[in-house]
């Protein structure tokens, strides 16, 4: 049970309640978050537009066709970044869920809530572009191999999270349920990553992130990394802007509620 410390002198021991206020809790103040994110967001957006403005035309027009895949290799400049964002974003969601569940960080709840629709979009685009690559290369839009199936499960986990956090009237309860789902679903991320090594799949094994030298020529690797960076910056800017909007909407609801209470009071 919590008791108030009534001593006037300096406390001989650090107060337990003061400990979680440092570190990431500095950013739990909505005013401070809005100020800081307001300064970061324009730079993040400008960097995303600039890097994508270089990376997308590079991949689409200036990189050479592959000796086996021909022009279809250009799909990989958008497909691979979407796959990275689908997995990396989910790792971010799991981290935010840990912050939310253990440290009850109020902004982590909102960030996770705003992250899941963007993550679901990236995963859907990964599946769609993979399918568009698969038809001319494999001769089929879809196969039930371990990589494709685990990414489809990841897509349902993103959708499930987005739906679950919005399904409760009590937003805190919704955030807790969403965090539990995100942490359970995090088991799927290493399955997606290593599925091509653990099982015999039609999907090729990792080319860029394998140990040792990447299995791609620099003419393909550099535009791919540029597009990867550009889409990561765009993803971060979208999530940050959505979180800012959510913080402002929460403040609006609080102000409207306070105004309604004042109007009801005799």
């Amino acid at each position: 049970m919590d008791t108030a410390d009534t001593r006037t002198g300096p406390s001989p021991l650090p107060l337990p309640a003061a400990a979680p206020r440092g570190g990431l809790h500095r950013f739990a103040n909505p005013g401070r978050f809005l100020r800081l994110s307001g300064q970061v967001l324009p730079w993040l957006t400008a960097a995303a537009v600039l890097v994508l403005g270089i990376g997308l035309p590079w991949g689409l027009f200036f990189s050479p066709p592959d000796w086996q895949q021909g022009e279809t290799v250009r799909i990989l400049y958008v497909h691979v970044p979407m796959a990275w964002l689908a997995m990396g974003g989910y790792a971010g969601l799991a981290l935010g869920s840990v912050l939310s569940l253990i440290w009850r960080h109020p902004l982590a709840d909102l960030a996770c809530r705003e992250l899941s629709p963007v993550g679901a979009l990236a995963t859907a685009l990964c599946l769609a572009t993979g399918s568009l690559w698969g038809k001319p290369m494999w001769g089929t839009w879809w196969v039930w191999d371990a990589r494709l199936t685990s990414v489809l499960v990841l897509f349902f986990l993103w959708l499930g999270h987005a739906a679950l956090v919005r399904a409760f009237d009590d937003t805190e309860r919704g955030a807790r349920m969403g965090a539990i789902l995100a942490l359970i679903g995090a088991v799927n991320v290493p399955i997606v990553k290593f599925s091509v090594d653990w099982w015999n799949t039609l999907h090729q094994p990792a080319s860029v992130t394998r140990l040792g030298a990447p299995g791609l020529h620099v003419d393909i690797l550099y535009p791919l990394l540029t597009c990867g960076l550009g889409f990561t910056l765009a993803f971060a800017a979208l999530v940050l802007a959505r979180t800012r909007a959510a913080v402002m909407e929460r403040r609006i609801r609080a102000l409207q509620l306070a105004a309604a209470r004042r109007a009801e009071a005799p």
Binding site: G31, T72, L125, A128, A245, M248, R251, I252
Partner: protein, 52 residues
């Protein structure tokens, strides 16, 4: 246009279109929230614009 290029164009259109639609929706949501907050609490919205 070959079949390969049709698939490439469709992929780029999907990804760029998807991100663009989400960006437009986010910008309009952000602007609406900012406008409403400025109406309800003008002092706080002015403070939020100031550098920390």
């Amino acid at each position: 246009m070959s079949l390969h290029w049709i698939h490439v164009t469709a992929s780029y259109a999907l990804v760029c279109g998807g991100f663009l639609i989400l960006a437009i929706a986010t910008i309009s949501r952000h602007a609406a929230a900012k406008r409403r907050l400025a109406q309800l609490d003008p002092r706080a919205s002015r403070r939020a614009q100031e550098p920390s």
